[in-house]
Symmetry: C2
DNA sequence: GTGAAAGCGCTAACAC
DNA sequence: GTGTTAGCGCTTTCAC
């Protein structure tokens, strides 16, 4: 056979034991739909006491609790959260309406999920690919009487927002600057972010910048562009806008070709999102244009890949966890009559090799 | 100010209109908790007819439906899915228990969400970072009486699996080969996948391969390694196993250093997952070792980034969408007494530049 | 500390 | 077609 070689690495060297256990489990046959009434009959207590033993154990004597737990175990009883919710008007579920595409949203989603879990809440996911679906999705969310709703990046109109009947269900908009003033929102400071990146570029001597956006009609793009353009303008530098078509890698890759076709390359390219930036970077590389040698390049978001050695992108790092924490705080502490909060979290500039000139200036 | 330059790209060139709408919406003040009884009173019909108008519109005359819809709109009535579920014993929700970390799982999650949405079901997310949590999470899932449960990659013991009371709730394991025979499962054909990659490497003349795994105790690693080792052995090639410690980029990056420390570099490195492979690739590059010049390198999963020009990784592409479709089919068509299905979906080899030698041989 | 009883808002027979 | 009625499985007063 082979000459196997064992190499240690993370812990002690060890060989894979490839085992295959045979099946064969004793499963309870027909234990389905056991209710608190069954447990009551089994334990000799009333249904009410059984319910209390699970929902407010401190109201039940230890001995009783013990008896009931044994009966419940024996029958395989699991409390029914649906019935609890119907009565208590709380589901312990938070809905998240999130775009189906994009690295950034996936990370945000995971962060929401994790932080909600820490607070014993679950995340009901509603993803949408076409923002035309959002209205339908929102209706669907409302049917579930969730404890709150996170609305991410959906380009919802004010009319749709109005239909949400503020007050009936806490809602927080996430990275959707246009929602500001209508529903509570949490965003990174987009304008300050691109401004900070612009400052960095000016310090590197850039005078002529092209901003590559995803879609110009998104408020994200608008605000990020404006932040960059204003700051660059303040230093007498120019800032053009190039629309890539979407925030995806592929769009960035294609946009790179447009950049290369220009009469003269800009000093620097600011890209509206990291994923898009990776595409631009790779596209430019393919065309023989490299950052930082031929031009400087920045992203926005601070995705993990930006730190990967293959890219090492200068970008604005959003702390997604901290944003998510704000979202959830806002959602779960929602006072009906509080004024609308608009939380703007600053990001931090990460300087990578895409703007690090060996000979500075 | 600036010298702005407008550049067209995706569609026609256009400038960002940066507008900011002022707030001011008329929101219904106290429309909360409107029930079908309220709509009944408003419309003059019975509660049952109102309910029917929403749940089975075809059983209600058009005129009645119209009247009821108007009353409902006026009051802002939205059917309560919780109450519906309690009665109908269907929630239209599927739970997914998924690892919190890892590109691959994030993509899978999104795919589940999208495909469930197409079937008018929602996804209740339970993510876990520590697999010790899984048992607790599973208990939590069961309380919600969801219509089904997707169990991804959780290293669940047979005892835990037994607690799931097969029959009470349809469950499908996703990419968790160890579940095979106990609960229905869907996985990519891991062994055939690494075998195919191994064949490809042998064809490129490789004789000495190191397999970089994430964690050796995972069945994923074991099966992938075995598939590779057997195929390589068949061709008289050697296959060592190196454990990186996890499936993350960072682990791969560090593992690269261990590879470089070996007395002699292998001909090829097969990495157990793409994300890990990106780390290995970048780590090796940093150390001046490049693929395909110094050694060949393969990944596994077929993440989008594998196709990015920066990596262009040879890998085994799993069609996550097709896997997810099988999972959902299995879940929603679950016959109580069907024998346990184990679906294994083949992957396809994607040849990238990490195994493409300019001078072949 | 425990039990009895009244719902939470809907669905699904069953009558008419 | 529409109304009446009886629950779904829990929580939550209110007695005792």
């Amino acid at each position: 056979m082979n000459d196997y070689v064992v190499i240690g690495c993370s812990s002690s060297p060890r060989w894979c034991a490839i085992s295959r256990k045979a099946g064969g489990l004793t499963l309870s046959d027909e234990a389905r739909r056991v209710t608190s009434v069954d447990v009551a009959a089994e334990s000799g207590f009333s249904q009410a006491t059984v319910a209390r033993a699970f929902s407010s154990p401190h109201l039940v004597s230890p001995a009783t609790r013990e008896t009931i737990e044994q009966a419940a175990d024996k029958l395989g009883y699991i409390p029914n959260a649906i019935a609890r919710s119907l009565k208590s008007q709380r589901t312990d579920i938070v809905a998240a309406v999130v775009p189906a595409q994009g690295e950034y949203w996936q990370h945000a989603l995971i962060s929401f999920g994790r932080q909600l879990a820490e607070r014993d809440k679950q995340l009901l996911l509603f993803s949408f690919s076409d923002s035309a679906d959002v209205a339908r999705v929102i209706d669907s969310v409302q049917q579930y009487r969730v404890d709150g709703m996170i609305l991410a990046s959906a380009n919802v109109t004010q009319v749709q927002l109005a239909r949400l009947n503020r007050g009936a269900m806490p809602i927080v908009a996430f990275n959707q600057p246009a929602a500001s003033g209508i529903i509570p929102s949490v965003s990174v400071d987009n304008a300050a972010g691109t401004a900070a990146l612009a400052t960095h570029l000016v310090e590197q001597g850039c005078r002529k910048v092209t901003f590559v956006g995803g879609r110009s009609e998104t408020s994200t793009d608008q605000i990020r562009y404006r932040g960059a353009a204003q700051e660059l303008g303040r230093h007498g530098a120019a800032c053009a806008y190039l629309e890539a078509g979407s925030f995806s890698y592929d769009s960035g890759y294609k946009a790179a070709a447009h950049l290369a076709e220009l009469d003269e390359l800009p000093d620097a390219v600011m890209v509206s999102g990291d994923e898009l930036a990776f595409g631009v970077l790779d596209g430019l590389r393919t065309l023989g244009i490299s950052a930082p040698d031929d031009l400087l390049l920045t992203g926005f978001d601070g995705l993990p890949q930006a730190s990967w050695a293959g890219y090492d992108l200068t970008t604005l790092v959003q702390s997604i966890d901290s944003l998510a924490e704000h979202v959830i705080d806002l959602l779960l502490s929602a006072q009906p009559e509080t004024e609308i909060a608009d939380i703007v979290v600053p990001g931090t500039v990460r300087v990578g090799k895409t703007t690090r000139r060996l000979s500075n200036g």
